[in-house]
Each structure stands twice: as structure tokens, then as C-alpha cells.
Amino acid sequence: MRVSLFITCFNDTLFPGTGRATVELLERLGHSVDFPLEQTCCGQMHFNTGYQREAIPLVRRFVEVFGDAEVVVAPSASCVGMVREFYPRLAELSGDQALIDAVAALTPKVYELTEFLVYKLGIEDVGAYYPHRVTYHPTCHSLRVLHVGDAPLRLLRKVRGIDLVTLPDAEQCCGFGGTFAVKNADTSMAMLGDKLRSVRETKAEVCVAADNSCLMHIGGALHRERAGVRTVHIVEILASTEG
């Protein structure tokens, strides 16, 4: 399959390793990867903060960049959630019928990486090897916007050498929430504090998730605490091999 990679501005700028791992994994599984350089940001931050007018040009841009793709895959549940669940609403707000139609045609082809592997390709064992104690945090948007279910866990369970431990109260929000982490920094921290305690309880070395935004939040605090736990995007585990 020819996969158009939607890297997301966040990963492009802050977590290029996640992008490289995505390319490596998809190619290893026999797919060709294309990266349209004109892509920038999906507009999630604008939309979620209330700047809808400012998000509409980014919807238009996304549709122009990816309109012809066979399939669009991104290593970010929240950005895919934005495109698939909220682009139709923004297109409607624009009042532009051509945009409404283009969004309707494109959104069913856009996948988050783990759901693409498990539900679209039907793969669970990607041939990965990762000899570490790992705990999985299901991010809110992967669970409750995209409904990826246990796809990430199914992939992780097939990784060789992994010591996968259950995170207590896993489905509780970590407190990131985009601009929430800044606007309501105190409440965000109170939520994060409980998440950190759960992570530490597992005695895991690595906390994994399908969103680098939540991981940056959790990982930033783990680093501040010198907790001895690092955060890793799931694709970086899936891309790891023996030797």
C-alpha cells in the first residue's frame, strides 16, 4: 500500500524520531511511504481553544495536501481525531460546499498508526523486539475520540522480550488537554500527579502511548522528578528489532 505520512507539526518539530520510526516500520512491513512536504498543522490547537475561524484555512490546506492519497497515516491519535471527527464540522462552518465534499471524501482514509496496523492491515505481530519493562497509557483521544480500543495493547503483547505491565487507573486523563495544561496549569498538575503515581507503581522503565503530546506532559514531569522512567511513542517500540 502507498501510505501518505501525516507526521503532525508537533512530531515534525519536537519528536522527529517518532517519524523516522514510522517510516522504518511501514517500509519493513512492505509498504511505500510518501511524505508530502507541504503539510504543516491540522489546526487542532486552534479548534480546541476556540479559534475556529483560524482553523479553517488549515483544514483547506490539509485537504489540498492529502486529497489524492490512497491512505493517510499519522503517529498521533489526537491529530487524527481532529481530522476525522472535527473536520466535517469545520467544513460545515466554512459554508464551502466543495470543502465539505472534499473533507467527506478524505476523512475515511485517515488512520492513526495502531488502528491502521490492527484494523486496516490486520497485523498484530510486527516483528519487534524490545527487552524492557513497559506500561501503556491509553490516551483520551485514542480511546474516546478514535475508539482504537485495545489495538495498541494487541501490538505491544506481540513484541518479543517486552515485560508489559498494566497501568492502574489507566483510562484517567493525564491532564494534558492542549492549552488546558497552560490555562488551567494547577488542575492539570493535580491530574498529572496522580498519573505519575500510577506510572511509578508499575515499576516500569518505559511509559508508552500513541500520542507524543500526552507523553511530553507525563515525560516532562518524570524528568523533573528524576523518576527513572522515560516516555516512548509506541511506534518507536514497534520499529525496534533484535540486533
Binding site: Y51, R61, C173, G177, G220
Partner: protein, 486 residues
């Protein structure tokens, strides 16, 4: 000032009030324990029903159909209530409703009324209005009584005293009810309240209730409760006044079947609540001999006019969204500055009072979506939150004058929208970030950021921007591939 601005006192903003609440360790402990317990109970009884999702969908559909024809059903209800011997009053806002109720109490020369727990009467600040008219209102729901005796506001729509533990309640009762000896055993606490209330039930001539449901076809009003104190109020006094928001109506008895399954499981985590009472007008020589129904708008028809916001009116006040909300669990209800706290409050309050008067509430959420998942009538709370945020921003941009336009967040968002609309500008910004970050970077991390972003580094480090973006790597790789194939 909007007519319904009596609903709340929204100072300070949510984030400030929350910060204060987060400091209260007793509150954190009480809230954490209570919400976790009730969440587990709810999950267990909801899990028993194989058709739960179908029930939710039915609940949503009935509510939305009813709201589409609200004018018709309200008139039908009025006619049915009158036919059954009741009186119907229409109140545009809180002060109209309070005036109507006060007048009824005065006609009967009553100086005291007893009340069934009712959010709607809290919303219109009825007790305060009665007090100003020289009428004493006594709350008969145990938790409402606790709040009333403590002189506080409710912090939860179902369990108003959720923020208090039993030793705090023991102290309160000893101080206010004149009880000399009292343990903090829940049974003893309930007995103390019972002794106090029993006398009130037997001597007070007027009772005031809210309504969980009103059946248009028969003019029947319904209340669900746990304690039975409500039923005392509905049967012992001579006069009964019920106040209901206009959205509480259901067309037929058959519709009720769905809601009596959804509500108890979602609210108290019970298969069925202990007391369910229905009354239709007046029955000769049985129960109240005079019945008044006050139909309250107080901003609801404006909510109904909003295509996305109107689903808020589906709410049956179960409080499942409060109990599941990670923000509410930590801040408690008072931070929301409204009789409607939690996720439902964050969307209802701004719509009732106007977003300009409650602009911090739509942001009191991480948009985690847990509330939508548990809502028994499928109110898409995150969708409404984002919709209201857009209204806040639009208000700031279009009516906020120069201050609104020069708001740092607005300027940053405008600039970023333009930057993301142009690849060259975007890549230039990436490079600027990589080059400009050095004064802040120490050992690969940024530990302190200025201005708006300072909230981030208060507790979290930020890893420095890598010197190579993904697209840089991609371009390099393409070049190498091209070279190799030459």
C-alpha cells in the same frame, strides 16, 4: 445585566478558584473517595444491562424529539394539570418565579415552607427570595439540610455535601441542631436529622418541590429520591408548589420507562432508587389540596435556539459526568461558581448567563471525553465545550475592543494560523525555534519558560527542540536515495 444572572457569582475565574480548592487536602481526600466509590457502583449496575447503549440512544431521541416540539407539549401539560385541578404559572426568569411562589405562600399566611431537594429552586435562589419576604424555608433532603445548616452552597448536583465527611457533619449537627451527644456513625447522624425534620413535616402548611419529570398527556409530575423525605413533603402539607424547568417535560408515560432505567443507574449507581413519587393535580381528601406548577424558562429558550448547545437541555441531572470528571474530582464543585458544577455546569452555566459572564468555564476541561461516554442521554459535552470556547473567542475578537484584539493569546493564535498556512513560514519558524531556544536550554531540557507558557514549566521540564526536524531528515534521505540511483 441578563435576567438570569442570579444563577451564579462567577468571581473569581475557574482557574483561580480551582487553584484555591486544590490546596484543600481534606476536600481532595473527601472528593476522591466519594467519586471513586460512586463511579464503581455506576459501572457495576450499568454493566448489568446488555441494552445500555440502546437505552442511551432512546433517551437522547425522546429528549430531542420533545424539545423540537416543546411549545406543543408545554401547552398540553398546562391543560392536563388544570384539568386535574392544579394551577399553572409561567415564569420568564428567576425573579418572576420567585414572585409567583412568594405570593402563593403569602396567600396562605404561611411563615414557613419545607422543601424537597431541587436544583431549579437553587438556580433561582428561591430560599433567599423567601427569606427576604419573611418566610423560612427548610431543606428536608439530608445533604441539602447539611449545606443549609452550614450556610454553604452545594458542591454536587446529587450529593450536595459530597465535600464534607462524617466527622465534619457531626460537628455541624452538634453546633446547629442543639444535639448534646452524637457519634459520627451515619445512622446516628441520620437519626439526629430525622428528629429535627419530623416536627417540620407535621407542622408546615406549604411544601415546595422541583420535578424530575412532567408527563404532558396526564399532567403528572414525578420525583425520584432516596430518603423518603420528599414523599413526606408531597403528602403532609396542604399546599404543594412544584417548580420545573421547561425542558423537564416528557410527552407520555411510556417515555418514562426509558428514563427510570437510565436515571438511578447513572446517578446513585442503583438499579432503582428507593422512592419514586408521582402526583396529578389534586385528589380530594388525600394529600395537598392545592397544587401549583411553575414553569420556568430562565434562559432555556435561548439555549434551545442554539443548534449545538441545545443538547444541553437533554440533561436529566444524574451527575454521572461530575463523578467521572478528572477535573471535578480534584477541584470539587465550588470552583465552578454555579449551582450546576462539573462538566454539565461548564456547558449549562455559560449558556444560561451568556458566555461573556462565564468565559472561563468552557475551558475548565481537558476534553478527555469521559463525561460524554457516561452521559445517559448522550450529551456530547466536549463538542459543546469547544462550541462555547469559539463563542468566547469570537466575543473577545469582535466585541472586546482593542484589548480583545491585542490579547496575547489571540495575537499568538492569529500569527500561528498564518504561519501554518505557509510551508516556508512554518519551516522558518522551526529553524527560529531551534536557534532561538539556546538561552533557555540546559543539558537538553528547558526548565523555565516565560509568560503564558510558564504554567508548563512550573512542574514539567520540556525537552529542547532537536536540531534536525523530521522533514530535514526526510529531505536528506530522499537526496541520498536519488544519489544512489544515479
Amino acid at each position: 445585566m441578563r435576567p438570569n444572572s442570579v444563577v451564579i457569582e462567577l468571581t473569581p475565574k475557574f482557574e483561580k478558584a480551582a487553584k484555591q480548592a486544590l490546596e484543600n487536602t481534606q476536600l481532595r481526600r473527601n472528593m476522591g473517595k466519594a467519586t471513586q466509590t460512586i463511579r464503581a457502583k455506576r459501572a457495576a449496575v450499568v454493566g448489568e444491562l446488555p441494552d445500555w447503549q440502546a437505552l442511551r440512544e432512546a433517551g437522547r431521541a425522546i429528549k430531542e424529539r420533545t424539545l423540537r416540539h416543546l411549545d406543543h407539549y408545554l401547552l398540553q401539560l398546562e391543560e392536563s394539570v388544570k384539568r386535574a385541578g392544579g394551577h399553572v404559572h409561567w415564569a420568564r426568569d428567576a425573579s418572576e418565579a420567585n414572585r409567583i411562589i412568594t405570593n402563593i405562600v403569602r396567600v396562605h399566611q404561611a411563615r414557613e415552607v419545607i422543601k424537597i431537594k431541587s436544583l431549579t429552586t437553587d438556580e433561582i435562589r428561591l430560599n433567599k427570595a423567601l427569606k427576604e419576604a419573611g418566610i423560612t424555608a427548610t431543606e428536608t433532603d439530608l445533604a441539602e439540610l447539611i449545606i443549609q445548616l452550614a450556610g454553604e452552597h452545594s458542591s454536587h448536583i446529587l450529593v450536595p455535601a459530597i465535600h464534607k465527611n462524617r466527622s465534619e457533619i457531626r460537628e455541624l449537627f452538634m453546633r446547629t441542631l442543639g444535639v448534646k451527644e452524637l457519634s459520627d456513625n451515619p445512622k446516628d447522624l441520620a437519626a439526629a436529622a430525622r428528629a429535627y425534620l419530623r416536627h417540620k413535616f407535621l407542622t408546615t402548611p406549604v411544601a415546595i418541590s422541583g420535578a424530575n419529570f412532567a408527563i404532558a398527556e396526564s399532567g403528572t409530575i414525578g420525583i425520584v429520591e432516596s430518603e423518603g423525605n420528599g414523599r413526606m413533603c408531597l403528602t403532609l402539607p396542604k399546599v404543594l408548589i412544584s417548580v420545573m424547568g421547561i425542558e423537564k417535560i416528557l410527552p407520555t408515560w411510556q417515555d418514562l420507562e426509558v428514563f427510570l432505567q437510565l436515571l438511578p443507574r447513572s446517578s446513585t449507581g442503583e438499579r432503582m432508587n428507593p422512592y419514586t413519587s408521582f402526583w396529578t393535580g389534586v385528589t380530594r381528601d388525600d394529600g395537598p389540596q392545592e397544587f401549583h406548577l411553575v414553569l420556568l424558562d430562565n434562559g432555556r429558550s435561548q439555549v434551545l435556539a442554539d443548534e449545538i448547545g441545545r443538547q444541553t437541555l437533554n440533561c436529566i441531572r444524574c451527575s454521572a459526568c461530575l463523578n467521572i470528571c478528572p477535573v471535578y474530582e480534584r477541584t470539587g464543585g465550588h470552583a465552578y461558581g454555579s449551582v450546576y458544577p462539573g462538566p454539565i455546569g461548564a456547558i449549562l452555566t455559560p449558556q444560561l448567563v451568556g458566555v461573556e459572564h462565564a468565559s472561563s468555564l468552557p475551558y475548565a476541561s481537558s476534553l478527555c471525553g469521559a463525561c460524554y461516554e457516561v452521559c445517559p442521554v448522550k450529551i456530547n459535552i466536549p463538542e459543546v465545550l469547544v462550541h462555547l470556547r469559539a463563542k468566547v473567542v469570537r466575543e473577545k475578537q469582535d466585541h472586546g475592543g482593542l484589548k480583545g484584539k491585542l490579547d496575547p493569546e489571540n495575537l499568538a493564535m492569529q500569527a500561528m494560523s498564518r504561519m501554518f498556512s505557509n510551508r516556508v513560514a512554518y519551516e522558518a519558524a522551526q529553524r527560529m525555534g531551534q536557534k532561538g531556544q539556546w538561552p533557555m536550554v540546559k543539558d537538553g531540557y528547558i526548565t523555565s519558560l516565560p509568560g503564558l507558557l510558564g504554567g508548563w514549566t512550573a512542574m514539567r521540564d520540556l525537552q529542547a527542540l532537536p536540531q534536525e526536524t523530521f522533514r530535514d531528515w526526510w529531505r536528506k534521505r530522499k537526496k541520498q536515495e536519488e544519489k544512489a540511483s544515479e
